[in-house]
């Protein structure tokens, strides 16, 4: 369960056209944000909290409220809770090794 994504994993993210909603990732899996399909207001709020394009996330909980860990530079991190409807509009590419999702949970 790294607090930042190791280079050998980060280099193997799926192509951008393989984007899936954040809600499709399971707890423990890692993903890289590729786009926010949100209203301007919601996008500004989640970006300000650290969820922005190209940031890496670890899924901590995937339920009605999704909890993600935003993995920052130097191993620093923070935890953000997102309504499931909101999380569905956050597009990520799952981080994979050999076609299998990276699970660090």
């Amino acid at each position: 369960m790294p607090t930042s994504v190791p280079a050998h994993i980060a280099d193997q993210t799926s192509p951008e056209d393989d984007c899936v909603p954040l809600t499709e990732l399971k707890p423990g899996e890692l993903g890289r944000v590729r786009g926010l399909r949100l209203s301007e207001e919601d996008a500004a709020t989640v970006r300000a909290m650290g969820v922005h394009d190209t940031c890496d996330l670890r899924i901590c909980r995937s339920a009605r409220i999704c909890v993600v860990q935003v993995l920052g530079g130097g191993g620093t991190a923070c935890r953000i809770a997102l309504d499931r409807d909101l999380a569905r509009d956050v597009l990520v590419t799952p981080m994979t090794i050999g076609g299998r999702p990276v699970d660090v949970g």
């Binding site: 707890p27 909290m49 530079g73 130097g74 991190a77």
Partner: protein, 711 residues
Amino acid sequence: MSSPNDPAVAPAPSVARVVLLGNPNVGKTTWFNRLCGERHHTANFSGTTQDARVGDPGLTTPRGRSVELVDLPGTYALDLDQSEATICREVLAGTTAVEDRAAPPDAVVIVVDATNLERNLVLVGEVLAGGHRGIVILNMMDEARRRGLDIDAGRLASMLACSVVPACGRDGTGLDDVRTAIVDVLAADVPVATATEPPTSAPTSDPAPSPARHDGGVGHPAPRIGSVPPRPTAPDAPSTADDWRTWARAVADAACTTGEPDRAEASDRRTDRIDAVMLHPVLGLLIFVAVMTGLFAVIFRLASFPMDWIDMIVGGFGSIVASAMPDGLLQDLMVDGVIAGVGATVVFLPQICLLFFLLSLLEDTGYLSRASLLVDRWLRPFGLSGHAFIPLLSAHACAIPAIAACRGIPDARARLATVLAAPFMSCTARIPVYVLLTGLLFPDQPTLQAVAFTGCYVLGAGAGLLSAMIARRTVARGTARRISLELPSYRLPSLRAALLTMWDRGLGFLRKAGTVILLISIVLWWLSAFPRTEPPTAAVDLRADAAAVVEVDPDRAAELESEADRLESVHASQRSALGRLGATVQPIFEPLGYDRTLTVGVLASFAAREVFVTTMAVQLMGEEEPGEAQLFDTLGSATRDDGTTPIFTPATSWSLLVFYVFAMQCLPTLVVTAREAGGVRWALLQLGWMSAFAWIGAFIARQIALAAGGG
């Protein structure tokens, strides 16, 4: 281009202003309290409703200027379209005044969460790029070390070209270094950067040689790093939000490494496990109910002791003043107006202090954010989100701070709906009325009294949520915004921070009691005391009878005097301005079963609902501080002016109880609503809506009670 700190542009005033800035939940308030302690007061950012805390850190610059510290609202970034960010931008630019002084600050202290460096650095970069002298407090170093993070504060200082102090606000580590850094940075003659010269755009440039490595943290007082930073040059300075994020990531990567990744993993797993329980749809809800029940049980049980003491002190003080002053208008004003009026409000101080103390402890543990998420599901059908939870919870102590807490709700329309709904929650001022009426409805049946009492809380909360739902479909149209919330780490709460919060809130409440409520008390006293009337003949006769028998039967004489007092009081009340107003307005309340006496009670308590009990006691007993048993006996058997019909029939008591659950009856709350919602029209809407709701609810309650044979 001149920088905000250019001495040629802004001649140095006698006080150097330092502002405290940071992301939400980074421990900014803890640092303000550490630096200023109790030496602070509350002002306003001019042209806004936002409170500005201005403190004295007890520092002096080498040139002899004293230093003032201004606590700015928490914001993630300066370019956000939020009121907090706007205030920060304007204060930094010197276009918004604090205490009538609008000038760019002499220095900016930026509190940064060491465990979340990348996001916090965006704000640091924006501030330093603005040309401000900055000091970075690398807070929560204890947690960073627990997570196995290794932060090179020296390298960070050289990359940012400003002082960086590793610290921990919770135990005060780094406090002396922060104080020294503030004085040092204020001693500098030149600003560290200019508006055209932001901090280094990439860590690789590393403009100054990195000082020795300092880890800081608990148990290792951190040396101060970087006294007067060099002027940075950066041709490829960040300009967009994305640029700033890229820059922040590069700086965080260069300054911080995960020395012991196992520790971070263990910490994350622990948080995941606790969250799995706290956010569980069943277990989490059970814990939530238990925590809230415990919270209110502690508040009501513990607060009852100091409340009794305050009650006793106020009563005793009133007696002393009454005996020390000659009979007359001034004595009446002091005893019946000022002391009784303000005392009736101040008695709730313990409950308010306890609520904020416990809320601060809970917030510090990280639980309240989780509770907001749990409640989000239940609030959404009413057009609110989990953000409304803390204001609505606080409203059970007092609507005034609750309405102020609505600023934390990001959606402006949901914020307005919450402001309009909050006063429906049963605040502590309603308690005396609930106690009186449930006692009259169920004499000697404590279980039924408790059920009715709890029912009042449920009814109030239901009415508030219904009102919010209606507001969200009319005046504050919109659906509940999907919640997004930062979840702070779980940690042990800080007793010191909770005590300071309690002190702050308690002082604020007392300030209101000493101003708005004092004024209301005097006006009400005047209305109920004038015009002065001669005592009724019956009272004069009773006093004569008492004088005749006082030698042979002193007890009988005392009884006669007491009855004469009651008659005089009722007579004066009937003929006072308030009594006449009551008689005029009474037809409006007739369908609710209220006679003239009850109407006067309702009118007198228009500005502060707790005054109802006092007014009824004065009208029917001629005493303001009767014993509890005597109060219930007298009120229970009191009759209307016809001398036969009871005033408090079961139907009337139910009607009154429902009326007080719903009615606004609190002038200070209306004042705060007008301020926070952005206009008197919202306060008038709130008053009209709650009054109409109360009247209709009370009417329905009476009809049901009558149908059930409670006439």
